[in-house]
Symmetry: C2
Subunit: 220 residues, 2 copies
DNA sequence: GGTTGCTACCGTGAAAACACCTTTTTTGAA
DNA sequence: TTCAAAAAAGGTGTTTTCACGGTAGCAACC
């Protein structure tokens, strides 16, 4: 026990992760225990660990096991570990989803190193750190609808539909692919418009891409 | 002159960029001269620089001035500076686009630090570094269609229109913003459909995002 | 049994997006 | 200065998208 904040990192972009490692090691009150490229490996590390980290930095878009799922599993098995979500996108989908999944804070990848240091220290001390990103509106939504299925909990159909929205298919064609009536597709769409506060298919596409539900490099 | 490879970095994700800085400083044959969040600032730095860097690491998706444009401008003004493109996406569009724009190599953000070191050293020495990413097929396309620049033949209006397509604005609203008739907007759209072999607005959005003409995180 | 809630589905009408074809205005090179 | 090309704008009609109100089936739960 040397008094340092023990940290674990999970991010599939190796350069980014190694870079953050270096940055953290420069802070004299922090040390990196584990550094892995996805959630599954992080869980495995924790399960086999002689010493648990105090804080985990979690990327949201990871292969194998994404940030949401990883956060839930960690909070389930090791509730004392504090979680800090890290992402490129500042969408409500991601922020609310990660906070609900148990993260104590949310940091963007364009943050400055001192902001990272600050966030980790606050999360270590208080269990949470809320930057200006987490607005009153988002906090309000978290508090007032704690059980309501939020955007982070879209069902399988909605996810599949969202992915198909990011193609040049018409809704009729999407209905065909999903083997449902075009009216049902209308329903999926209207439901997503409502849930995500969106008004057009273009909005759905942007959302699906920002949230990582659909990926840019999937359609060639 | 200390014999070190002089490097400049341009990437809008501060944590990533600072992390890469740290990684590079660990290599005893490299030093970071400039580190900026976008292409415009990099150009400004270079224009005012007492010492030019040997190699520039360029992110593709940056605000202000993206990787393609930045690469072209640098190669135009300072052809002796070697360029290494860095991106999360391994799409042909990006790879070919950056190589055409003058980059000597293409590296993914999930690369390991030694791969980064290796790439920089090779580019410094030979002017290029081709990982397994750059397949024979891509090289062939580069050679056989040397003039077919992917997005370069789009004019200012079309670029602005494409960006506005990636919002929830209707065409009528876009026409208003661009101060032209809705019919003119129809023209821009149909022209892009023709040029890019696209059939819907969704297709335009995907194209704009893939190509870096529009960015997911600049939604303002 | 009735109520609640959820999912799939339908009808209609309005708005937006798309296709095709024509006219006017601008531009710029011969 | 003239002519041709390109850009901007218009007319018209079809298809797709979106909004709204509603029905049918099914499971859970007092």
């Amino acid at each position: 026990m040397n008094g340092k904040i023990k940290i674990a990192l999970a991010d599939d972009h190796n350069l980014f992760r190694k870079g953050v490692e270096e940055i953290l090691e420069d802070f004299d009150n922090m040390e990196v225990l584990y550094s892995v490229p996805n959630g599954r490996e992080l869980i495995a590390k924790l399960a086999a660990a002689p010493v648990l980290p105090d804080v985990c930095l979690l990327d949201i878009n990871m292969p194998e096991l994404n940030g949401f799922e990883t956060a839930k599993m960690i909070k389930d098995k090791w509730p004392q570990i504090k979680l800090l979500a890290v992402s490129v996108y500042d969408t409500e989908f991601n922020i609310i989803g990660m906070l609900r999944a148990g993260a104590g804070g949310y940091l963007l990848k364009d943050a400055q190193p001192y902001a990272l240091k600050n966030a980790i220290e606050q999360i270590y001390k208080n269990g949470f750190h809320h930057s200006e990103l987490v607005t009153g509106r988002i906090l309000h939504q978290l508090i007032s609808h704690p059980n309501k299925t939020n955007s982070a909990e879209l069902n399988e159909k909605e996810l599949q539909f969202l992915k198909l929205c990011c193609t040049e298919m018409t809704y009729r064609e999407i209905a065909d692919v999903m083997s449902v009536s075009p009216r049902t597709i209308d329903g999926y769409r209207d439901q997503l418009f409502e849930k995500l506060n969106i008004k057009s298919r273009t909005g759905l596409v942007i959302y699906a891409l920002k949230s990582g539900i659909a990926l840019l490099d999937e359609h060639t």
